[in-house]
């Protein structure tokens, strides 16, 4: 049974994009904007070990604020990526000189007055950053902060699912019924990465892909790996 916050995120994603034509990653951003009354949300992904480009936005204008941080090499997204912790800036105009002078100037110029950046990760697996933008200053409430963390978790699962070759509509269904945080899933990720001589992220994606191909729950596949009954071979 999905919890209340997870249900709200999944149903906002389903509603997002009207006719459902929006790409899945854009829909995570649209759901964030809807649930947390944001000006917009954007998602940047890791490419070759670095945070690069914009993989999803709630509306096209957000890409500029995302790209600005990456090109300047400073901003909440860059800090959230480097530290692996959420970076919450409720008043960009007030702190412009101190933290990110160049980004703050550019952000405030286009009307961004608050930024909340959440790292997308699964243990040591790092994927990217989800950033939430508002055109008014003010901190997130405790409930909004919890939503931000849930959105980041959903985005992480969506991206890993897509990397494993899942059809977008399947990913959405899986999130609703399959908790991804069973201990065996993380243990098996570590084991597979050694078996195949790959990184943990690739180990996870390979296991996820195997589960999709076999049409079996991820947790069952993971339990078999941990019990030594299943080894993933080099493909």
């Amino acid at each position: 049974m999905p919890t209340d916050r997870l249900s709200a995120v999944l149903s906002a994603m389903a509603d997002a994009g009207g006719d459902g034509s929006a790409a899945l990653i854009d829909r995570v951003c649209l759901a964030a904007a809807e649930l947390l009354s944001l000006t917009g949300a954007g998602l940047s992904l890791m490419v070759d070990g670095e945070l690069r480009g914009t993989a999803g936005v709630s509306e096209p204008g957000i890409a500029f604020v995302q790209e600005l941080q990456l090109s300047l090499g400073e901003g909440p997204c860059v800090d959230a990526w480097a530290s692996g912790e959420p970076v919450l800036e409720p008043d960009l105009a007030a702190t412009r000189v101190v933290r990110w002078p160049a980004f703050a100037r550019g952000g405030v110029e286009v009307g961004v007055l608050a930024v909340f950046a959440f790292p997308l990760h699964l243990g040591t697996i790092r994927i990217g950053v989800l950033a939430l933008y508002r055109d008014r200053p003010g901190a997130l409430s405790a409930d909004e902060l919890a939503y931000g963390l849930v959105l980041a978790d959903v985005a992480t699962q969506v991206i890993l699912g897509l990397q494993a070759g899942a059809a977008p509509d399947t990913v959405h269904q899986l999130l609703a019924k399959e908790p991804a945080h069973w201990a065996e899933v993380h243990q098996a990720t570590g084991m597979i990465s050694v078996q195949l001589g790959v990184s943990l992220d690739e180990g996870f994606v390979r296991m996820r892909a195997h589960a999709f191909a076999q049409e079996r729950p991820l947790r069952v596949v993971a339990s078999e790996v941990v019990a030594g009954r299943l080894r993933l071979e080099e493909s």
Binding site: M1, D4, G123, I125, P179, H186, G190, V194, Q195, V226
Partner: protein, 248 residues
């Protein structure tokens, strides 16, 4: 040693740990182990709610998969689920009589040899953040004198969860808890890596990671991260059962 002496010793040990830059996963594991030694129960586990409100396992007295499975299977029903939702202790004196209440959990627990359970809420400022789950192999109520002590253990666990690094970084509660859960994921991943490299079971891998952290006075999560990214050689993690690094 009398029961009182053992309780005092435990509180001193736990309080000592919290003064240093402690690792919350290691701390909670120790607390779960002490729960089994001091309380009238044979397994103990700590579940923590994530930002979505789903219960996730933070620590358990034994890493045996049977006990873990029972803890993990409580996202829809079971004593911890009920305890978390209601914010009050939940007891089953006889699981055989509670199959109607928990149609999945009760038979599963009995099949693993448990007959009674107790779930105690972990609370912070009036909010329930998770639960301590105690399993007993006999039917019947836990000894009266153990009830306040079990609540005390749950309270210490809650304090520890919010205390870690809280002095240096002012963090919201939900963020702090999510951070603790991420720490647990990192340790699970490291257990998998070490288990495959050293050709040992995941529980043995966990014992080696903990022993290495303890013997070198390191944080468990740092040891886990270093093992994953290759800075720590798996061969450097000796088998604690063989008595290497037997300094303590």
């Amino acid at each position: 040693m009398t029961r009182e002496q053992r309780i005092v010793e435990m509180f001193v040990e736990l309080a000592d740990t919290m003064v240093e830059d402690f690792d919350v996963v290691e701390f909670l594991h120790r607390l779960a182990e002490r729960s089994v030694q001091l309380l009238d129960c044979s397994e103990a586990g700590l579940l923590l709610a994530d930002a979505a409100g789903a219960l996730r396992v933070m620590a358990s007295s034994s890493e045996r998969s049977e006990a873990l499975e029972l803890l993990q299977a409580q996202n829809e029903e079971g004593p911890c689920f009920e305890c978390y939702r209601r914010g009050t202790p939940v007891v089953s004196d006889d699981l055989a009589l509670d199959a109607g209440r928990w149609p999945v959990f009760a038979p599963a627990a009995m099949q693993k040899g448990f007959r009674s359970v107790q779930a105690v809420p972990m609370r912070v400022r009036g909010e329930t953040i998770g639960a301590l789950n105690l399993f007993r192999t006999a039917a019947g109520r836990m000894a009266e004198r153990d009830i306040p002590l079990s609540q005390g253990m749950a309270d210490i666990a809650a304090i520890a969860l919010l205390q870690e690094r809280a002095v240096r970084e002012t963090r919201g509660m939900v963020e702090q808890l999510q951070r603790a859960l991420t720490g647990r994921v990192v340790i699970e991943q490291a257990k998998g890596v070490l288990s495959e490299r050293a050709r040992i079971g995941v529980d043995a891998a966990f014992a080696r990671l903990r022993a290495h952290a303890r013997d070198h006075n390191r944080r468990l999560s740092d040891v886990a991260r270093e093992l994953i990214d290759g800075r720590l050689d798996p061969a450097a993690l000796a088998d604690p059962a063989r008595g290497a690094f037997s300094g303590r």
